[in-house]
């Protein structure tokens, strides 16, 4: 349990079926996959542990049915988990009372939903002001705050519209404004852009990055789109059949996938924008002839330079000291891995 973690989940289980508690106890708190199959139980989240660091964007990704939606609902306690612990600012979320939970949601949590979850009978302004209304803020204060939020997401002038009068992208902006209205410490986004058209999705991702640059929230973001995960995430956790298969930075995930399942996801990833030169460089130090390449540079940025050079190029750390070298062949192999290389993802020599 890292003391600096904003949220730390330990051994989280969410089991569906009759008497899940008894089932868990019967198998010593750690039933195997075959136990689930034999007794017709569903292990939507199985023994998941991870930390969310302050100010990071943690992406949970997986295919539908992998348990990612259940996981976020377990952390937010929209669905109570079967077992485990979730430490949030020093208290275990699973042990707080219903009243305390309501208080936490009113002040410290915000959530964005895939299908927006807007209240159809309320105006845009009243939707954004809703979390403030239920916690009892006076009308003027909450409407002022809601206006600020609408300005933040670029929806000024639409405050008296009803959700049905807005496009999908605009509706999700309302959803985002609402989730930020209480000034949450932690921000949950459950596939926020999956219901949108590809072009709008791109635009909303940019918008999201812009907001995060300003707000620096701690974020748990769910998606099934690996490209989105790579684009937005500081770290990515991949889920499969209720388990967290790998939790790593996008770069680590592509260069060192934990298993074939993860490799399948990463095979179509934009490697040039994720991998840095340092991660493919060899340790053989060559004298810096002319300009070297920064270890932190992404492959795409360094490609022209490396490919143009016949000799190995020096790789430099942040201080400008040579720490290794990179060749044209290494560059090509890293950017266009063959099937063979895909199966044996040993580090390049």
């Amino acid at each position: 349990m890292t003391p600096t973690a904003k949220i730390s989940c330990r051994n989280l289980w969410k089991i569906f079926g009759p008497t899940p508690d008894a089932f868990l106890a019967r198998h010593g708190g750690a039933p195997k996959l075959e136990h689930f199959k034999a007794e017709g139980m569903i292990g939507a989240v199985r023994d998941v542990s991870f930390d969310v660091h302050p100010g990071e964007i943690l992406i949970i990704m997986g295919l539908s049915g992998s348990g990612k939606s259940t996981l976020i609902r377990a952390i937010t306690r929209l669905n109570d988990p079967t077992a485990g612990s979730i430490m949030f600012e020093g208290q275990d979320l699973l042990r707080v009372s219903e009243d305390e939970l309501v208080e936490l949601r009113r002040h410290k949590m915000g959530m964005v939903f895939q299908h927006f979850g807007l209240l159809p009978h309320r105006t845009v302004l009243a939707n954004v002001a809703f979390p403030l209304e239920v916690r009892g803020s006076p009308r003027e204060e909450r409407e002022r705050r809601a206006m600020e939020m609408l300005k933040l997401v670029g929806l000024e002038g639409r405050e008296s519209y009803f959700p049905r009068e807005l496009s999908g992208g605009q509706q999700q902006r309302v959803g985002i404004a609402r989730s930020l209205a209480v000034g949450p410490d932690i921000w949950f986004l459950d596939e926020p852009f999956s219901a949108l058209d590809p072009l709008i999705r791109r635009e909303m991702q940019d918008e999201f990055m812009r907001l995060q640059k300003m707000l620096k929230k701690t974020i748990v973001f769910i998606t099934h789109d690996f490209e989105e995960a790579v684009r937005l995430g500081d770290r990515i956790g991949i889920m499969k059949e209720g388990q967290l298969v790998q939790l790593a930075t996008p770069e680590e995930m592509i260069s060192q996938p934990a298993d074939d399942y993860v490799r399948q996801f990463t095979s179509n990833a934009p490697r040039d924008r994720v991998l840095s030169v340092g991660s493919i460089a060899s340790h053989m130090v060559v004298p810096p002839t002319g300009a070297g390449v920064a270890a932190s540079a992404k492959l795409g940025d360094a490609a022209a330079q490396v490919l143009a050079s016949d000799a190995p190029l020096a790789v430099l750390d942040d201080m400008g000291q040579p720490i290794g070298s990179v060749t044209r062949e290494m560059m090509i192999a890293a950017m266009f891995p063959s099937r063979d290389a895909d199966k044996h993802p040993e580090r390049q020599p």
């Binding site: 208080e103 949601r105 979850g117 105006t123 959803g175």
Partner: protein, 652 residues
């Protein structure tokens, strides 16, 4: 797994429920008939074995009425207060204080403004002219009496239904209990509630309101449950993550988001309440219903038509208004709009009312339309009826008699001849075959109870009328549905007619039937038919539309002609839907049974009707429950059959 499925499919006959089992059924029928001939108690349940259930129930309610008097008095008093208020506003005024009721002009203006507020000029015009009809044809006071009951009952029923519905969504056990109770409440005809209400609360407006309440609550409760359950999960979760407490979630998220379905429930409540006004007049509710009942019983067709149209117009206006409310989306209002602009309809209403009250001082016609200024088309209608009976009756009578003699009477005599063992046993056998022991016990327990309670003959007479009605409904409804499914334009017209037929309060159908056929079994069947054919048409249409196009094309490609396609492909695939339609037809016919008692019959409906004046609670209540039991038996058997067909066809 596959093995057992294969075997199960192999056991099952491919079409119909008889198939290879015809031998079993045949043997059973012959055996029971023979046994019944040998042992008379197996043919007719001996009178000395009849349990005096009806006496027990009557005595119980008499006792309850005496014991619960303080409670029932309080309830009656509480209900009487809002009713008195609305009546004072609409037609009575407060003579002691010299206050007059609302001028009729103001009420018409109110209808126009509500119509305009909800859906614009067209509905405004419609609501206004319908309301004006009530005044112009001299039915104002009766209409306002009826409207008062409706206006007080509807909010009460809606509130009670809402509360029950919310309760059901909060507790699984409540949901179970409530569902069973609602089923029985809705299957029992309205009239059956009157007897216990009379014993507990006496005669008058308030008991009528109470009986109406019982019938109007279930649809609201059902709509509430449905509405709350269908709020999108995203919306619910957004509410919870916003920090709503359970109560805030209910009032600020669930109910507002379920608004449409709740308004549908309200619409149902209004329609049920109006359907009850004539029946409630049997326990002393005055108003349009009572007048219509008198007119019907005295065969004053002209008057009956005028009054029937008035009730229908009230029903249609309230139906359209509540529907409009349902489809009305919230309107955007720019900030800083003045109060009187935001509430322009209310302001206009207050202004018109004030104007009308002031003007009425000089022009009293604005307040109450004097009799010599009202119109009536009763006389011409009476003339038409007289002309019909003089000139056309000669043609109608043979038709009536032919159908009666060749279709109805044979069915009746057959049913009355059937030994009870054969009838109940046969149904039980079908039930056992379709759904095992549990389903077999349904007819045995329900129909058996009615027999043991001494209601066998009216039970069989009811089943006879329903059978006759169902056969005619199938003969008319199924071909109509098939025709509609082939002609898109015809379908539109047909479905509109179906909608309209169902908006009319059911007793309206008694008027033309009495007009043309006078009292007879066929009149009853036809009055039921007008109501009961609608589902046969609708479901047939739906079933035919749902037949997969590819299947029909495949049949055509295989060389089937139109006739073969219909009989060998489309009808078998549409059969489950058609069966559900027939099921609904039976329900509708049953709900009309009690109503046709108003024009004379000998079935369970008549038992209910006869039980009223003498406050024979047991007789009325058990007869009513008997009608419900027939419905439940038919519903379970046909439902099981349709489900099995659907499963066989892979449509489930």
């Amino acid at each position: 797994m596959t093995d057992t499925t294969m075997r199960a499919t192999a056991d099952r006959p491919s079409v119909g429920i008889f198939g290879p089992h015809i031998l079993v059924f045949g043997t059973f029928v012959v055996a029971t008939v023979a046994l019944a001939a040998l042992f008379p108690p197996l043919d007719t349940w001996p009178e000395e074995w009849v349990l005096p259930v009806r006496e027990w129930v009557t005595e119980f309610f008499a006792w309850l009425g005496a014991v619960a008097k303080p409670v029932t008095r309080t309830i009656a008093w509480l209900l009487a207060q809002p009713l008195a208020f609305v009546e004072a506003v609409l037609y009575r005024g407060v003579p002691d204080w010299g206050l007059k009721p609302l001028p009729w002009v103001a009420v018409v203006a109110g209808a126009v403004l509500i119509g305009h507020w909800l859906a614009g000029a067209r509905l405004a015009l419609f609501a206004g002219s319908c309301t004006a009809y009530l005044a112009v044809f001299g039915l104002w006071q009766d209409s306002m009496q009826t409207l008062s009951i409706v206006l007080v009952t509807v909010p009460l029923a809606a509130g009670a239904g809402l509360a029950l519905g919310i309760w059901a969504t909060r507790s699984a056990r409540a949901d179970k209990v409530l569902n069973a109770a609602l089923d029985l409440m809705q299957a029992t005809p309205h009239m059956a509630y009157l007897a216990p209400v009379v014993v507990l609360f006496g005669f008058g407006q308030v008991p009528a309101m109470l009986a109406t309440l019982i019938f109007a609550v279930p649809p609201m409760a059902r709509c509430t449950i449905l509405g709350i359950r269908t709020v999108p999960s995203d919306v619910m979760e957004a509410g919870r993550m916003s920090g709503c407490t359970t109560r805030q979630l209910l009032w600020k998220v669930e109910l507002p988001a379920a608004q449409q379905t709740l308004l549908l429930g309200l619409n149902q409540v209004v329609m049920q309440t109006l359907a009850m006004v004539v029946i409630a007049s049997l326990v002393g509710a005055s108003g349009l219903g009572q007048k219509l009942l008198y007119s019907l019983q005295q065969l004053q067709i002209g008057k009956a038509v005028e009054q029937g149209i008035a009730i229908t117009l009230i029903a249609i206006v309230l139906d359209r208004l509540t529907r409009a409310a349902m489809h009305r989306a919230p309107q955007r209002i720019p900030d800083g709009t003045a109060w009187h602009v935001r509430h322009v309809h209310l302001v206009a209403f207050l202004a018109i009312t004030l104007g009308a009250v002031l003007l009425a001082q000089v022009l009293p016609q604005l307040s109450v339309l004097p009799r010599n200024m009202t119109l009536s088309f009763g006389q011409p209608i009476n003339d038409v009826v007289r002309w019909i009976s003089r000139n056309l009756y000669a043609y109608i009578k043979p038709v009536r008699d032919t159908i009666t003699i060749w279709l109805l009477l044979p069915i009746r005599d057959f049913y009355l001849w059937l030994p009870w063992t054969t009838f109940i046993g046969f149904l039980a056998l079908i039930g056992w075959y379709l759904g095992g022991l549990r389903l077999a016990l349904v007819p045995v327990c329900l129909l058996g109870f009615m027999m043991v309670a001494g209601f066998w003959t009216p039970l069989m007479l009811t089943i006879y009328l329903v059978t006759g009605c169902t056969i005619l409904a199938i003969m008319i409804g199924v071909p109509t549905g098939i025709w509609a499914s082939r002609h898109p334009r015809g379908a539109k017209v047909t479905l509109t007619i179906c909608d309209t037929l169902q908006t009319f309060p059911s007793f309206i159908y008694l008027i033309p039937v009495i007009m043309l056929l006078q009292t007879s079994d066929l009149s009853n069947v036809i009055a039921m038919l007008a109501y009961a054919t609608v589902p046969a048409v609708r479901y047939t249409y739906l079933g035919m539309i749902l037949v997969p196009k590819a299947t029909v094309e495949a049949a055509t490609a295989s060389g089937a002609n139109a006739r073969q396609r219909l009989w060998k492909v489309e009808l078998p695939i549409a059969l489950p839907e058609i069966l559900l339609g027939i099921n609904q037809t039976i329900m509708m016919a049953l709900s009309m049974v009690a109503i046709t008692a108003l024009i004379g019959s000998r079935d369970l409906g008549q038992e209910i009707y006869k039980a009223l004046p003498g406050a024979e609670t047991g007789r009325g209540l058990i007869a009513g429950i008997g009608i419900a039991f027939i419905g439940i038996t038919a519903d379970r058997l046909i439902g099981a059959w349709a489900r099995r067909r659907k499963k066989d066809l892979g449509l489930a």
